[in-house]
């Protein structure tokens, strides 16, 4: 699963930031996951616990899912992404490369594929807590 690649990236970015900030131990990492990616949270959590290094000690990983909101550039209509309306293949494509959404979804109001993902794309570290 590509959740492992994401977990690896989170661990390495957190380690870099912790080093830069002079943290001896990381206690808590808050992660936000855009819904568009449809990341399997169980796998992500498991991968994080497997990949974490000694620097993380008993650190907690708090993962929050952010709803994916789309906005049409042509008519301005806003709507939320819903995976239920997609078949398995399209859903998988968006899971790997979210931009492929433009091949599978159109504005429900005017039918344009020219919309933007205002929120809910990607995965990012919201905050890191630790001891200096």
């Amino acid at each position: 699963m590509h959740e492992w690649a994401l977990a690896e990236a989170i661990i390495s970015s957190t380690t870099q930031i912790a080093q830069k900030e002079g943290l001896k131990e990381v206690r808590e990492v808050k992660i936000k996951v855009g819904e568009l990616q449809q990341v399997e949270l169980d796998i992500l959590e498991f991968a994080l616990s497997e990949l974490k290094t000694a620097k993380f000690g008993t650190a907690q990983f708090i993962i929050e899912v952010v709803k994916a909101e789309l906005k049409c550039r042509v008519c301005g209509h806003k709507w939320f992404f819903s995976k239920n309306k997609l078949d398995a293949d399209s859903s998988e494509a968006i899971h790997f490369v979210p931009e492929t959404i433009h091949a599978y979804i159109k504005c429900p109001k005017c039918g344009s594929p020219d919309f933007e993902v205002i929120e809910g794309r990607g995965i990012w570290i919201e905050s890191i807590k630790g001891v200096k």
Binding site: M1, H2, A93, F96, E99, T100, H102
Partner: protein, 179 residues
């Protein structure tokens, strides 16, 4: 399309096509039209780079669109030690764009391996001279080969075209490999 579907295993493992690992967004958008703005192209590219498990490679070859768009700038930004092999057609008009790219790359101190002239239809020293003036290695000319279109999708047939033979010569020159 099904044949190039990458495998999923702690990341995306690219499919091997004729001994080459291959990855493209087309593996996920298939035959569908995928209208993307520049910023979306950038994001898709970064996504592919972050999830693809290339493992050990001799070379990673990135096929780029012409000109200086978001993708070109992103590649310069993200790929350390990137080297450009620039392809031009014989058209002086096309070379104007190529020249601007070369200028940018030199200003940014990005390495340019050389320039190849593709789809050559008649004798003309124009591109060769211009490249020499810029002080960049010129790797040769690839004649326009109408057989290429018919060979698409058939690797063995493609490798027998004049195009492929000439390309093999140029590649071995670029990377000092035996033919």
């Amino acid at each position: 399309m099904k044949e190039i579907k990458p495998k999923e295993e702690k990341g995306i493992v690219p499919t091997k096509v004729h001994g080459l690992k291959y990855m493209s967004i087309v593996a996920y958008s298939g035959e569908k039209t995928l209208p993307l703005r520049g910023a979306d192209v950038s994001n898709a590219l970064i996504e592919l780079f972050s999830v693809t498990i290339w493992d050990y490679l001799n070379f990673l070859i990135i096929d780029m669109p012409p000109g200086i768009s978001d993708v070109t700038l992103d590649m310069i930004r993200f790929v350390k030690n990137i080297e450009f092999l620039v392809v031009s057609t014989p058209s002086p008009l096309a070379f104007e764009t190529v020249e601007k790219l070369l200028t940018l790359l030199m200003e940014l101190k990005v390495s340019v391996i050389g320039v190849v002239e593709n789809m050559k239809m008649k004798q003309s020293p124009f591109i060769r001279q211009k490249v020499a003036e810029a002080g960049i290695p010129f790797f040769g000319e690839i004649p326009f080969d109408p057989k290429v279109e018919d060979a698409l999708g058939n690797v063995d047939l493609l490798l027998r075209t004049d195009f492929a033979k000439k390309l093999a010569e140029i590649v071995s020159k670029c990377f000092s490999l035996p033919i």
